[in-house]
């Protein structure tokens, strides 16, 4: 009885040991199944077709081309390999302007045939209408619909997830924004982080350290939404005034807030590494007549380099995944940033801001899960880097 009980407890403990692994697998599984669904979705909005006149021989259009047509940025078919004709985009909403209510019928029952004959009369017309509306056997051409391709998604530079007729899911601006703001955050945080770590581990007295440690812990403990609120109320207007920027919500505001948030991680990990630098090394250096400072930067810092590197990488991880503070201060403009003073949009902020509005199960919803997958793998990769750095360090020390 007793033995069985002990066995059972052992199994229970073993099982709970693997809970984190199971959670990781579940995260990958759920995010992937939702995210991968994006590539099964069609380019053109579900239930709709793009109908053309018989004389128009254009067969395929990319989502970006469709957007250009309906935004009236491209006005001639020959740019897409068609005949030399002016493009006349038509949306269902335009039906009210062209036909009277009586013509359309109370339940829009005549709309389909009216639109079909309209397209037949206008050779350059492209109509965005529900598939169910087009009468059977209508004498029309249709743009061939294909699935969304990974290339459009990962290399596309336009993020218009709700554009009609064809949403654009170019994730490059979001990825670039995330990396850009994190990079600058680390550049800001690094000098502070290293200095504080050195100061705490090498210079400060026990009392000063006893004061600084809780300060750093507190910085780590302040909720990100409080940082966001502070950034929105204080940092954004301040930057606008100091630098005379046209916009205060910028990558700069985001990276300053992120730098404060990533700082504790860098400090804690780097300080731990420096403190665990063997006493004998220090003493040897001091005995050779080196000053304390020379010992620090010739002996302590090089020997704890891997710990410092881990801290920096973990700090990057923290910055990349941060959501609320960034959402509140970066302005969220989905354009590839060319300077840090411009507004930009990050992956976490996009998920937080848009998931609420995306119809569940649709292409937009799935694209946000795909962003989640990307984010997950960025941080996964970062953690593997940390793991690699510290394992190499262990090997070196032993």
């Amino acid at each position: 009885m007793r033995r069985i009980f002990e066995k059972a407890v052992k199994w229970l403990l073993t099982a709970s040991g693997f809970v984190t692994s199971i959670v990781i697998l579940l995260i990958i599984g759920f995010l992937f199944t939702e995210g991968a669904g994006l590539f099964k979705e069609k380019v053109i909005e579900e239930g709709y077709v793009l109908a053309l006149n018989r004389e128009n021989n254009v067969k395929e259009l990319t989502a970006a081309q469709i957007k250009a047509i309906f935004d009236e940025d491209v006005t001639n078919w020959k740019e897409f390999g068609g005949p030399d004709m002016r493009i006349e985009p038509f949306r269902l909403e335009d039906a009210d302007k062209l036909f009277t209510e009586e013509e359309l019928g109370g339940q829009y029952e005549n709309a389909g045939s009216l639109i079909a004959s309209l397209i037949e009369a206008h050779p350059g017309m492209v109509a965005f209408v529900p598939e169910s509306m087009i009468p059977k056997g209508a004498n029309l051409n249709f743009i061939e619909d294909r699935s969304i391709s990974p290339k459009e998604v990962f290399a596309g530079s336009e993020w218009f997830p709700t554009a009609t007729p064809a949403p654009l899911f170019g994730m490059w601006p979001l990825l670039a924004g995330t990396l850009w703001v994190s990079l600058f955050a680390i550049l800001f945080a690094l000098p502070f982080g290293i200095s504080i770590a050195v100061y705490m581990s090498e210079v400060a007295s026990e009392r000063v350290r006893g004061f600084l440690k809780p300060v750093i812990e507190l910085l780590n403990g302040i909720p990100s939404v409080v940082y966001g609120f502070f950034g929105l109320i204080v940092i954004v207007p301040l930057l606008q005034q100091v630098f005379g920027l046209p916009v205060g919500e910028s990558g700069l505001a985001g990276s300053i807030v992120l730098a404060i948030m990533a700082l504790p991680t860098i400090v804690t990990v780097a300080e731990d590494a420096m403190r665990s630098c063997p006493r004998s090394l220090r003493e040897a250096s001091l005995a050779l007549g080196a000053t304390q400072w020379q010992t620090v930067y010739r002996v302590v810092i090089p020997s704890s380099m891997s710990g410092i590197a881990s801290g920096v990488v973990l700090g990057i991880g923290r910055a990349v995944g941060e959501t609320m503070a960034v959402l509140m201060v970066t302005g969220n403009a989905a354009a590839v940033p060319s300077s840090i003073l411009e507004p930009l949009r990050t992956i976490p902020a996009t998920i937080a801001a848009e998931l609420g509005e995306a119809p569940a199960g649709g292409a937009h919803y799935q694209s946000l899960f795909l962003l989640g997958v990307i984010l997950f793998f960025i941080t996964f990769f970062i953690n593997l880097c940390v793991e690699y750095i510290s394992s190499r360090n262990k090997a070196k020390n032993s």
């Binding site: 007793r2 403990l13 995010l31 990349v320 996964f380």
Partner: protein
């Protein structure tokens, strides 16, 4: 080996460069302390006047421009409790397994540690997505305290595991061997000897993980948080308001931003007070237990 001869004045230069370098370090450290105090000071200065008894005990009213944040405080406390119920048992058991059962150099420990570290690096918004997909949609809990607690629990799990593991690691092997030599079983040793000794540090870690949970917004955005729910939730399938989410909505939406701003400052201050109290509590407990151990 060449013997360097130092030019004259080298010693003074050495001292000067040390002075400058350490001065810079001291200055930058001081700067960060000032930044922290600026943030805290600003929020305390603007928020202190807002916080009074009604603010803490009443529901929001007049379109969120007056009244208090009572439901949000209760909601945050409920979520903290819920996440503790989810994460503490599993996390502590997992930590015990890692330190007491699994072989130190075996693949299991390495693998679990890798996975736990990875999980702790997963961004909170990804937990939000995952919680929404699994708990809200797949398991059909809907937006609820249950779904929010589970999501937050998973988020704090790595922290709980790590603190447990580290607390147990520092207990000398001799103590375990002593207990085993007296005829106690392995489980009895863990239950009666190892856990009680590790408890102080485990508890400190648990408290800090609660602090993290109290401030998270992204994971509850799509799993739990309600904009307005003046009554208190009556079951774990209800949604609830929560302080961080309340601060977010109140500082970005609402028809009368001007009238809502004091409430936003007040909410931010309450959040910060929770964090402060938790950090202080953890610090005090750590000191207390350390002293007690020393006395023993």
């Amino acid at each position: 080996m060449a013997i360097e001869t130092f030019p004259k004045g080298y010693g003074a230069r050495k001292r000067r460069s040390q002075k400058t370098a350490f001065g810079i370090f001291r200055g930058l450290s001081l700067f960060i302390v000032l930044v922290l105090f600026a943030i805290l000071g600003f929020i305390i200065y603007r928020g202190a006047g807002v916080i009074d008894w009604t603010f803490l005990t009443e529901a929001p009213s007049d379109g969120m421009t007056s009244g208090g944040i009572f439901p949000a405080i209760i909601g945050t406390l409920l979520l903290m409790a819920g996440s503790a119920i989810v994460a503490f048992p599993v996390g502590i058991m997992s930590g015990i397994y890692m330190n007491e059962y699994a072989s130190k150099s075996g693949w299991a420990v390495k693998f679990i540690r890798l996975m736990t570290n990875n999980l702790s690096g997963v961004p909170s918004i990804v937990f939000g997505l995952f919680g929404m997909a699994l708990f809200v949609k797949y398991l059909g809990f809907g937006d609820s305290i249950l779904a929010g607690s589970l999501t937050l629990g998973l988020l704090s799990l790595p922290l709980v595991i790590r603190t447990t593991e580290e607390a147990l690691k520092d207990i000398p092997a001799g103590i375990r061997e002593g207990s085993l030599a007296l005829g106690a079983s392995k489980l009895q040793t863990i239950w009666k000897v190892v856990l009680p000794m590790g408890m102080p540090r485990i508890i400190t870690g648990l408290i800090l993980s609660l602090g993290r949970v109290s401030g998270e917004t992204a994971p509850i955005l799509f799993t739990c948080a309600a904009y307005f729910f003046p009554q208190l939730p009556s079951s774990i399938f209800d949604q609830c308001m929560a302080l961080p989410y309340h601060l977010y909505v109140i500082s970005t939406s609402g028809t009368d931003i001007e009238a809502q701003q004091p409430i936003a400052y007040g909410t931010a201050l309450v959040l910060i007070i929770i964090v402060l109290v938790i950090n202080l509590l953890a610090g005090v407990l750590r000191k207390y237990f350390e002293n007690r151990l020393k006395l023993k």
